[in-house]
């Protein structure tokens, strides 16, 4: 049952929803970042999700980014 196409489709949609929700809060996709590090900067240490989260949380409120009125 878990390998049915419907299940695959639903989990894909759920993943996208979670990604959207996190991005709306200023947290980019962790898996994408890890994949990027492995591919392009193998010498750097891969942060844990908690470290990654803290770093991005601080970064969000640094600059003149923003939201609307």
């Amino acid at each position: 049952m878990n390998n049915s196409p419907l299940h695959g489709r639903l989990s894909h949609v759920w993943r996208r929803l979670v990604q959207t929700a996190r991005l709306s809060c200023g947290i980019p996709d962790y898996d994408v970042y890890v994949a990027h590090l492995r591919a392009h900067h193998p010498e750097r240490k891969v942060p844990s999700y908690a470290e990654f989260f803290r770093d991005r949380q601080t970064a969000r409120y640094k600059g003149t980014g923003g939201r609307c009125c």
């Binding site: 996208r16 979670v18 990604q19 959207t20 929700a21 996190r22 991005l23 709306s24 809060c25 200023g26 947290i27 980019p28 996709d29 994408v32 970042y33 994949a35 990027h36 590090l37 392009h40 999700y49 908690a50 990654f52 989260f53 803290r54 991005r56 949380q57 601080t58 969000r60 409120y61 640094k62 600059g63 003149t64 980014g65 923003g66 939201r67 609307c68 009125c69």
Partner: protein, 694 residues
């Protein structure tokens, strides 16, 4: 490569679009022409959807192909500068969701509610045509320009295309705009919570809830945003339910019963703390909660309107288009176009469209859906807010939005004044509405939030009836608006602080360090002091504050939109696409005309700040007191406030004129040149980058 944009339209598709156009025209005709009997809101919804769909399908495609010439084969910044963090090629629906969450705010919910005093038709038409021809054009074009320029910010692009001085002028304009935005939004919260223990209690509860969420995210389960937001939501709903008990218990109620002045001071103190404290503790968790609640509530409002299908009780066009309205002064032109800013066209969006979004788009071809489409969604939110306000009894609407100076502070007096305006209402109806929503009074709660909350509560109550449910929904709506306004205030104060530190750094370099405590506290105090001044002024204003400050906010926001559209116009000419100069050029000119006319009327003439200041000065010299001032010190304060507002209006006008001057100069230069002079980054083929990477 064949995409939807390049494929020739098939016969079925042509027939389909003709049907959409016919349905849209028919619904619009019903909305615009039916007189004497109430129109159902569904007609407005159907007409809006048809207009927005046609605008998206035809106009945005025209801009995509001819004006911006977006190129799906060109590598965007997300691919060229991919760093896995800020620049990441992202699925277009994810980018769309993120972009919409960033542009949607309190603005499109408040403006249309205030503009409903002129009837629902002027507001509806301006939102629909404004969003298609101005607002979405601005968002899309700025996004399109930014994606071609390494995802640069609006300020950076202004410096490059219009010159360094224009960039500095725009930076000051932005800071002034931000202070007014924060003050006006905070004032909306003050107006909603004045003498409302239930509302104040539940909004106050968001602070401990946010602290709890912050600690949970920091130590217990780091980074589990969705999980902690659900916990937060449940706690919020509990605090709303418990609020009823607080309001009903006199000892508890007294602790949360504040007047406007006290609330203003509390908000100022809160804003200071929230922006000095570490972000993970208060600001970030509150931000998460408000982001999800915002989207959830917009969906809830849509469902409520569709299922309740209310009749619009407000007339299509009310007598107040002549400029004598109680909610805000000024005639249809230019004040309708100033009052409804967000929702039709909002300058603020140009900052987001040149912020995170261009760093995420994986393809230039997707800018249209995200930029143009995202703004159309916001236009639709504004239409829903307008429907919620227009479906209220007009007598209730005016009693909530007219200032005490006009309708007094008893239901009997208010009902008689409003009935004289032609909107017959009994004192009982007003007291009954207050009772239904669990408040002691609904009089003079201007600012849009309470009106929208009553509208939403009535709609939701129609679908889910139940005793005391209306009061719950009312306080839910108030809480949600207060929550995301306060998040904007927190985050805005922080951004304002960095801007001030940057300006201060020009004078004394060490102040620029964002880690320096002295710089931090100093800049935060200046920032809070700036918006706090206007907030305090609004909370003691005889006309209720919103009446005075909303036009200033509208002028400032439309000023920024005008600047963004002028940049788009200049670049269109610089790219030697002069024949399409009207696409951004006409909305830019329209906004310049609107802001300058509105500014002028606020500077001289019967509804101006100057005349108000003069009236009080003359009375003071004659030694008489004018209401609502109770002593000479208050008289003096009213004079000062009006003079400050007049000066600020003049500054905004000067900014618009200066930026127009820079734009016209840059345009004439570019027109003369025989070659394109825009500062685009060179084209790199997407295929070449992808081939190289893999």
């Amino acid at each position: 490569m064949e995409t939807i944009a390049t494929k020739p339209a098939s016969v079925t598709s042509k027939i389909l679009w003709i049907i959409v156009a016919v349905i849209g025209a028919a619904c619009l005709a019903v909305v615009a022409l039916r007189r004497g009997e109430p129109v159902n809101a569904i007609w407005v919804v159907a007409a809006s959807i048809a207009v927005l769909m046609i605008g998206y399908r035809f106009y945005s495609r025209f801009i995509d192909r001819h004006v911006l010439q977006m190129d799906p084969g060109r590598a965007p910044p997300s691919v060229l500068r991919n760093d896995g963090l800020d620049y990441v090629p992202t699925d277009k629906w994810v980018v769309f969701g993120h972009h919409f969450a960033a542009i949607a705010g309190a603005g499109p919910l408040v403006g249309p509610v205030l503009a409903a005093q002129m009837g629902y038709l002027p507001g509806t038409l301006w939102i629909l045509f404004g969003v298609v021809f101005a607002g979405a054009v601005q968002d899309f074009m700025i996004l399109g320009l930014s994606i071609r320029r390494d995802a640069r910010s609006l300020g950076h692009m202004l410096r490059e295309e219009l010159g360094p001085f224009a960039g500095v002028v725009a930076m000051f304009g932005l800071l002034a705009l931000m202070m007014i935005v924060l003050a006006v939004l905070a004032l909306v919260v003050v107006k909603a919570l004045t003498h409302s223990p239930w509302g104040t209690f539940s909004v106050a509860c968001t602070i401990p809830i946010a602290l709890l969420m912050g600690a949970y995210l920091r130590w217990l389960r780091p980074g589990r945003i969705l999980e902690v937001s659900l916990i937060g939501l449940v706690l919020l709903l509990v605090s709303i339910a418990y609020g009823a008990h607080v309001a009903a218990t006199p000892e508890l109620a007294a602790m949360f019963d504040f007047d406007a002045k006290a609330l203003a001071w509390l908000l100022i103190a809160y804003g200071f703390c929230a922006s000095v404290l570490p972000v993970w503790l208060l600001l970030a968790p509150r931000d998460y909660l408000s982001t999800f609640l915002k989207i959830g509530t917009i969906v809830l409002l849509a469902i409520a309107i569709l299922f309740a299908a209310p009749q619009l009780q407000m007339p299509a066009i009310s007598r107040f288009i002549d400029g004598t309205g109680p909610v805000f002064q000024g005639q249809l032109f230019p004040f309708l176009f100033i009052t409804i800013a967000c929702g039709a066209v909002s300058g603020w969006h140009s900052i987001i469209a040149s912020g995170t979004t261009p760093k995420l788009l994986s393809n230039e071809g997707e800018a249209r859906m995200v930029g143009y489409g995202g703004m159309l969604m916001e236009g639709f939110v504004a239409i829903m807010a307008l429907i919620a306000a227009a479906s209220l009894h007009p007598g209730v609407y005016f009693s909530m939005n007219a200032p005490t100076a006009l309708i007094g502070n008893t239901v009997e007096h208010a009902a008689s004044v409003i009935s004289q305006w032609g909107f017959v209402v009994t004192p009982d109806q007003l007291s009954q509405t207050a009772h239904d929503i669990g408040e002691t009074s609904i009089l003079s709660r201007a600012g849009g939030a309470p009106t929208l909350a009553v509208g939403m509560a009535q709609l939701l109550h129609n679908i889910l009836p139940g005793e005391r449910m209306m009061a719950f929904w009312y306080h839910y709506a108030i809480l949600f608006e207060a929550l995301f306004i306060l998040t904007t205030v927190d985050a805005g104060t922080r951004v304002g602080r960095f801007m001030i530190q940057e300006i201060a750094g020009l004078i004394y370099a060490p102040l620029k360090g964002t880690e320096s405590w002295i710089g931090n506290v100093l800049a935060t105090s200046i920032c809070v002091g700036l918006w706090g001044y206007f907030l305090y002024q609004g909370s003691v204003d005889p006309l209720g504050g919103i009446n005075t400050l909303w036009p200033l906010f509208g002028i400032a926001n439309q000023m920024l939109a005008a600047i963004a559209l002028m940049l788009a116009t200049v670049v269109t000419v610089k790219l030697k696409r002069e024949r399409y100069v009207w696409v951004p050029g006409i909305p830019a000119m329209w906004l310049v005309v609107c802001t300058l006319t509105a500014g002028w009327e606020k500077l001289s003439g019967p509804i101006s700040f100057t005349v108000a200041a003069q009236k009080y000065t003359e009375a003071m010299q004659a030694g008489t007191l004018l209401a609502p001032a109770k002593n000479m010190a208050q008289m003096q304060q009213i004079i000062t406030n009006n003079s400050v507002d007049a000066t600020l209006t003049a500054v905004f006008m000067l900014l618009v004129v200066t930026m127009s001057g820079f734009s016209v100069y840059a345009m004439v230069q570019a027109w003369r040149s025989r070659y394109p002079t825009a500062q685009e980054a060179p084209r790199v083929a997407l295929t070449s980058v992808v081939a190289q990477r893999s």
